[in-house]
């Protein structure tokens, strides 16, 4: 008798958690090679969010599966299929880079699983290829560059020297900047991706006589360039306007070489909102580094899922109801104003940021001015959501 009772108890304890339907979330980010710094921010912030919800996103016991995309579309595709078929996740959160997102968007959305991008925002997904199962908690890729172009135009900056890496995102950056900027463009320089020595380009800048520099040099390229630019003395002559070049991911290496340089996005860790400041403090305590925009967008992705699952009372089967709940964006975003556009991309404020040193000696970005209020992307009108 005792044995049977024991066996029954065992069986019950095994079945128990499975009966209450669990929420499974897959996170796809680069965790190897230099881009791992960015993937780590997404992973850390997402785990922090789940922890802040006591392991229950939307009031449902939650399991998080993190996989490494290795920044290789084919690798990401294989791992995402594993998430969908083996782990049967309900949401996929990813990715950091647009090329990887492009590879996984079809298989995820075709399986009627919601895909939430914590960073990548290619124009096709915002426009004609917008998807009922895709949401973004970041921005459309061009927007940060548009902010800089608008700022340069508003400030009456007469001439700009442009330098970006020679690949799609680099060319998009130039297009984005030109959308609102009508002044003179002295040079358009495209460097190889992963460029090491910028001395030739810096020499060109010194002779171009432009009032400002516009650049987009993500990751290690940005660290090298900012250092070399500062050493050349050009920092005193030209205004430094950039996106993804001086941010919380690169500032620990750039330090005071980046001081006073401008960036642009929809959030800064110094943003004066109680919720945001609480997040930054918690994040720093737990992980020992300052969170950047990547981390904020990942945390918001968790908040978004939380709000939607709560709204449908944990019923993950009714996809239409779940979608409506997601579209409502009924959560308090760390960045303040947040609503979804018809293409499931955010309508939000954008800021010009400036690199500053905190009292504890660390470097971060601070809001210099608000450039756009409730700004939506330029591709939304091409989106016919089916």
């Amino acid at each position: 008798m005792q044995k049977i009772l024991y066996a029954a108890a065992c069986a019950a304890s095994m079945i128990g958690p499975a009966l209450a339907q669990d929420l499974k979330i897959g996170v796809v980010v680069p965790l190897s090679g230099p881009p791992a710094v960015l993937g780590k921010q997404v992973e850390d912030a997402f785990r922090l969010a789940v922890e802040d919800m006591n392991g229950e996103v939307g009031g449902v016991s939650t399991e998080v599966f993190v996989v490494d995309s290795e920044l290789k579309p084919e690798v990401a595709l294989t791992r995402v299929k594993g998430l969908l078929e083996r782990d049967e996740v309900d949401f996929v959160v990813g990715t950091v880079f647009s090329n990887v997102l492009g590879a996984i968007v079809k298989p995820v959305t075709k399986s009627e699983t919601f895909l939430i991008s914590p960073n990548a925002g290619p124009s096709t997904l915002a426009g004609r290829n917008c998807n009922p199962f895709f949401f973004s908690t970041s921005y459309q890729n061009n927007q940060n560059f548009e902010v800089l172009g608008k700022h340069a135009q508003d400030q009456g900056i007469k001439s700009v020297f442009m330098m970006t890496p020679n690949y799609q995102a680099g060319r998009d950056a130039v297009e984005g900047f030109k959308k609102f900027y009508e002044g003179e463009i002295t040079n358009e320089v495209y460097t190889p991706l992963g460029h090491q020595d910028f001395s030739a380009e810096i020499a060109e800048m010194s002779e171009a006589g432009a009032e400002a520099l516009f650049t987009f040099m993500p990751g290690g390229m940005g660290v090298r360039f900012v250092k070399q630019y500062r050493e050349s003395g050009l920092a005193d002559k030209m205004t430094f306007l950039s996106a993804f070049t001086v941010d919380e991911a690169t500032l620990p290496a750039q330090q005071d070489a980046a001081l006073g340089f401008f960036g642009a996005t929809s959030w800064a860790p110094s943003l004066d909102l109680p919720r945001s400041q609480e997040f930054v403090t918690r994040f720093e305590e737990k992980y020992g580094y300052i969170p950047g925009g990547f981390a904020m967008q990942a945390y918001d992705a968790a908040l978004l899922i939380d709000s939607a699952v709560r709204a449908v009372g944990g019923n993950l089967e009714d996809k239409d109801a779940l979608r409506e709940a997601l579209e409502a964006a009924d959560f308090e975003s760390l960045r303040g104003n947040f609503a979804f556009n018809n293409n499931h991309f955010p309508i939000q404020d954008f800021y010009l940021l400036r690199v500053a040193q905190r009292e504890d000696g660390k470097f971060w970005t601070e809001v210099e001015s608000k450039v756009f209020e409730d700004y939506s992307d330029s591709f939304a009108q091409d989106c016919k959501m089916k």
Partner: protein, 309 residues
């Protein structure tokens, strides 16, 4: 494009060339003398940078860190030779490529595990941290000038060693015909070890010196390795003199190419097409140059006599 900017770009080109020479010198010796294809040479460049970074964070003294880094790079080079490369000398080139490629993957991951995936920076040594006002707007870091001086000094030393000393004579003999050298009673495997360790140290030196300018990250040597191979092929495999001249040519060509290519294409095409084509042409330039040289001189500019394999 005015003459001032042309001169600055020449200076930049020479500086890049000198750095390339430091990497290519070891590579050409190893390839020329031993007939050994060492893809892991770029890894030794990276190791030099990381070691110097590590010692710098301990000692806070650049020169001390550099010296310690070089000694460790030498030891690691010898260790790799003893443990792995020695067993590959008699294998064919494909085996060597596979094995040394494996080392690239392994060491790139290893530095990531030890130092993290992020970009690290090494400050310019205090004594060389100044800069020279080159033009009204442009300052040129003294450190870059020092880099050129060091590179030229190393080139001179190598030249003296290879042409005037007994070891140098053996290296030249080995590059021409290693079997005969062996038959004459010279301990060829010890010679190989010396050459290899020395090559590893030179690559480490290049990495350490480049670190304050180029920053430090996993895989930092991989792209430069390809350019270094272009250099030794143009210069003639096994030839120090060839490596030196080819390195300067490639450095200057690459630097000038990046400045001029887009403007030059602008003369033929409209601005937006020139912006598309120019940067691509600039990236291809050194390979086109290599192809041209190979067409006229298949052994490179200064082939080691007897022909390296």
């Amino acid at each position: 494009m005015n003459s001032t900017i042309l001169l600055i770009q020449l200076l930049n080109g020479v500086q890049f060339g000198v750095l390339l020479f430091l990497i290519a010198a070891g590579l050409t010796l190893v390839f020329g003398v031993m007939g050994f294809i060492n893809l892991a040479h770029g890894v030794q460049y990276m190791i030099g940078a990381y070691l110097t970074f590590m010692y710098y964070s301990w000692t806070n003294h650049f020169l001390a860190a550099l010296a310690l880094g070089l000694v460790t790079a030498l030891v690691l080079g010898l260790l790799l030779e003893e443990l792995i490369f020695r067993h590959l000398y008699t294998r064919d080139h494909l085996d060597q490529v596979l094995a040394t490629f494996g080392i690239i993957l392994f060491v790139n991951e290893l530095v990531k595990v030890i130092w993290g995936p992020g970009t690290l920076t090494l400050p310019t040594p205090e004594i060389l941290s100044g800069s020279i006002q080159l033009t009204e707007n442009l300052k040129y870091p003294v450190y870059r000038l020092a880099l050129i001086a060091i590179g030229l000094f190393v080139a001179l030393c190598l030249y003296v060693i290879v042409t005037k000393t007994r070891v140098g004579m053996l290296i030249r003999a080995g590059a021409s015909d290693s079997e005969t050298v062996n038959a004459l009673g010279v301990n060829i495997s010890r010679l190989f070890m010396i050459v290899f360790g020395f090559g590893a140290m030179l690559a480490g030196l290049a990495g350490a010196l480049a670190a304050p300018i180029f920053t430090i990250e996993p895989g930092m040597g991989d792209n430069l390795l390809i350019v270094a191979f272009v250099v030794i092929i143009i210069g003639g495999i096994g030839s120090i003199r060839g490596a030196f001249i080819a390195a300067l040519l490639v450095g200057v060509l690459d630097t000038l190419g990046r400045t001029i290519a887009t403007d030059a294409m602008g003369l033929i095409f409209d601005a937006s097409a020139a912006n598309q084509i120019g940067p691509s042409i600039a990236s291809m330039l050194i390979y086109l140059f290599m192809a041209t040289i190979l067409f006229f001189k298949p052994q490179g500019l200064f082939p080691a006599q007897g022909g390296a394999r």
